[in-house]
């Protein structure tokens, strides 16, 4: 199978530098890293990709069964690393991807040498003695929102937007195409993201880890950031003065600085 095509892999930056893999979260695609790539490109080789079912991945590769657990997405990551034969790569995951990175590092320790977790949450739904911030009924509401907004997606346009990795200009002009996803696939990803519980996986992390959280994040509240940082031995927690769930978009300078500081420490 052609993983580069399946996951719409993009490699950019400095081929001599250490490799940084940027992994988008639930909702959009690798375009989310648009303000991050320029800061890294000079000294790092930067790898971007879309999870199957997102962005311009190959829709034919989607399997509701495989992607109904975070392990399926983690296997995507491992296969992307294998396709490029990455060793000791620095994996930067946003939102659910932060947890996918944890699972991937466990599956293929030789491939991933460090983790950056941006606005992570190992469990979104409140649980006995744990506050994730959401109830199960909230997730159903999100699924309804997905159902009522086929952002830039329609069955007629899907072939243009998706599976055209070789002709990106086709999707470029389409409004909302960064978040355009087949609603059925988006709903699988949403359930997997918001219903999974990866709290126990955190303690198995044994690579240098940076946890980035925002001061006001409606999806990953600060107590969750603290929980993640506490659970991963030796991890660093940095709180960005940023609002929202996407500091790499809303506060790119601060996010990039924290990222570069961490990368400099690793060298």
């Amino acid at each position: 199978m052609d993983i580069a095509r399946r996951n719409n892999i993009t490699v950019t930056g400095n081929p001599q530098g250490p490799t940084v893999v940027l992994a988008h979260g639930f909702g959009c695609d690798q375009n989310m890293w648009r303000l991050t790539v320029p800061a890294l490109a000079e000294d790092h080789r930067v790898v971007l990709f879309d999870y199957v079912g997102s962005g311009r991945s190959d829709p034919a590769a989607f399997s509701a069964e495989r992607y109904s657990s975070l392990d399926g997405y983690a296997r995507d990551v491992v296969e992307v690393c294998e396709a490029l034969d990455l060793r000791e790569a620095i994996f930067v995951g946003h939102s659910v991807s932060a947890m996918i990175g944890v699972l991937a590092a466990d599956l293929a320790p030789e491939r991933i040498g460090a983790l950056v977790m941006i606005a992570p949450s190992p469990r979104y739904i409140d649980d006995d003695g744990y506050r994730g911030g959401f109830g199960a009924e909230d997730i159903e509401e999100l699924l309804q929102s997905l159902d009522s907004n086929y952002l830039g997606w329609s069955a007629a346009m899907a072939p243009v937007i998706m599976g055209n990795a070789d002709r990106p200009e086709l999707g470029e002009e389409l409004k909302n195409s960064f978040c355009a996803t087949d609603p059925d696939m988006a709903s699988v990803f949403a359930r997997t993201t918001f219903l999974s519980d990866s709290r126990d996986d955190l303690k198995r992390v044994n690579v240098p880890t940076l946890v980035l959280e925002c001061t006001h994040d409606a999806i990953a509240p600060r107590e969750v950031g603290a929980f993640v940082s506490r659970a991963i031995p030796g991890s660093t927690l940095v709180t960005l003065d940023a609002t929202g769930h996407c500091p790499h978009l809303s506060a790119p300078e601060a996010t990039n600085k924290a990222l570069l500081d961490f990368l400099a420490e690793l060298r």
Partner: protein, 431 residues
């Protein structure tokens, strides 16, 4: 507004003056008034979502006082929790990437606990060096539209479920059909000592239910019966007659193996069943018995035909001929019918071939004027005389395939032959 287009209204000067007054009143409508009482919600927020300005329309929808909102709430606080998740994962990133986003469906929470569907559009206002300053948002009342969309989604769900049910039903019916189909034809032909058999069945009906039939079965210790026929019509109705015909003939043969007696019984059954039903049904059939002689290796054949095309006998010596059964009537048309009998004997290397008119009436040209015909079949068979039944059926199957669209009826083929154990010695004999 005629004023704008510059076209005078010739019919009504008074009306013109009234319009002037209305237009003047419009001009006095202040920007402030337009903003506050617009038929949509207006909202300006800081980049972190904090509300800086909001119009009276939106406050009314929310059921909140201005003082409770400005500087105190974020836009996402107005949304349901699911909407907030959607806002963070889709709306906010897209707004930041594109600078604008339009027509996104959300529900806003109202102070009285209600929810109101709205369509939201936002643009980023940037400063002189492109830095984002604030977000301007409009919200449109989407209650009716949302109800309509929900109706569409609901119907699509219903349609999807109906389609899935239909697919399940279809699979089940196809299984049932396959069982019925198998009941019309023998799974495998009964082995007759010293005889080789081969058959082919083609159905023109998309549900694979045909009106042609054949069978071969033992009737007593030494004799076997066979038949092959064609029910008028195609599809399920024909298949029902096929079923009745097949089981009647099998039962009749066990009672009295005489071919004429078997056909007479079938005639009575079909006539009794379908006469006066408003749906008269009949069939053509060749029925015969085989009696192998274990000493000579030869097989005595007795056949009777009810309106069916004559059987063909392919001889080991390379000749072929029809086995005429003249005068046999269609089965099931008249209360009592007479049937003609013919006899022959098969020797090693000989094959008896039975077929239905799907073969001889296959179109070989553009219209029904050019049919394959019995002469062509005789010539075809003659070339294959002396070959074993399997080879004859294989050649005929290829012939049927070559007709393409010209083969538009059910077709059944049955070949019964005695293997020629002395092919080599015959060649030496110079026969």
């Amino acid at each position: 507004m005629t004023r704008r287009s510059g076209r005078p209204d010739p019919s009504d000067a008074d009306g013109d003056r009234t319009e002037d007054a209305a237009f003047a009143a419009l001009l006095e409508d202040s920007a402030e008034e337009l903003y506050e009482s617009a038929p949509c919600g207006y909202l300006s927020t800081l980049m972190d979502g904090t509300v800086a300005k909001i119009n009276a329309t939106l406050l009314g929808w929310l059921g909140l006082e201005r003082a409770a909102v400005v500087g105190r709430m974020r836009f996402s606080d107005m949304l349901t929790v699911g909407g907030k998740l959607y806002h963070e994962t889709h709306f906010a990133p897209l707004l930041q990437l594109q600078g604008e986003i339009s027509g996104i469906a959300f529900e806003i929470k109202q102070a009285d606990g209600g929810r109101m569907p709205v369509l939201v559009s936002s643009v980023l206002k940037r400063g002189s060096v492109g830095e984002p300053l604030l977000i301007r948002t409009t919200l449109f009342d989407a209650r009716d539209r949302r109800a309509y969309e929900e109706e569409l989604l609901r119907r699509r769900k219903v349609a999807d479920e109906a389609r899935m049910r239909a697919e399940t039903d279809r699979a089940r019916l196809q299984d049932a059909l396959a069982v019925l189909q198998r009941s019309l034809l023998p799974d495998t032909l009964t082995r007759v000592p010293g005889l080789e058999t081969a058959a082919h069945y083609h159905t023109a009906s998309p549900d694979r239910l045909g009106g042609d039939f054949y069978d071969l079965f033992p009737i007593d210790g030494k004799r076997y019966a066979f038949f092959l026929g064609d029910v008028c019509g195609k599809g399920p109705q024909a298949a029902a007659v096929t079923s009745l015909t097949r089981y009647t003939l099998r039962a009749a043969a066990l009672h009295d193996a005489d071919p004429v007696a078997a056909l007479a019984t079938l005639n009575t059954v079909l006539h009794e069943r379908y006469t006066g039903s408003g749906d008269p049904r009949h069939c053509t059939v060749v029925f015969g018995t085989l009696e192998p002689d274990p000493v000579t290796g030869r097989v005595a054949v007795v056949v009777a035909s009810g309106g069916h095309p004559p059987a063909l006998v392919l001889r080991a010596d390379g000749t072929a001929a029809y086995l005429p059964t003249p005068g046999g009537l269609l089965v099931g048309v008249l209360p009592s019918a007479s049937f003609a009998t013919a006899t022959t004997e098969l020797a090693p290397g000989d094959t008896l071939l039975l077929y239905t008119d799907g073969l001889t009436e296959a179109r070989t040209g553009e219209d029904r004027a050019s049919l394959y015909g019995e002469d062509a079949l005789l010539a075809f068979a003659t070339e294959r005389a002396g070959k074993p039944p399997s080879a004859v059926i294989k050649a005929l199957t290829d012939l049927l395939d070559s007709f393409g669209d010209g083969l538009d009826d059910d077709t059944a083929l049955l070949a019964l032959g005695i293997p020629d154990a002395s092919v080599n010695s015959r060649a030496e004999d110079g026969r």
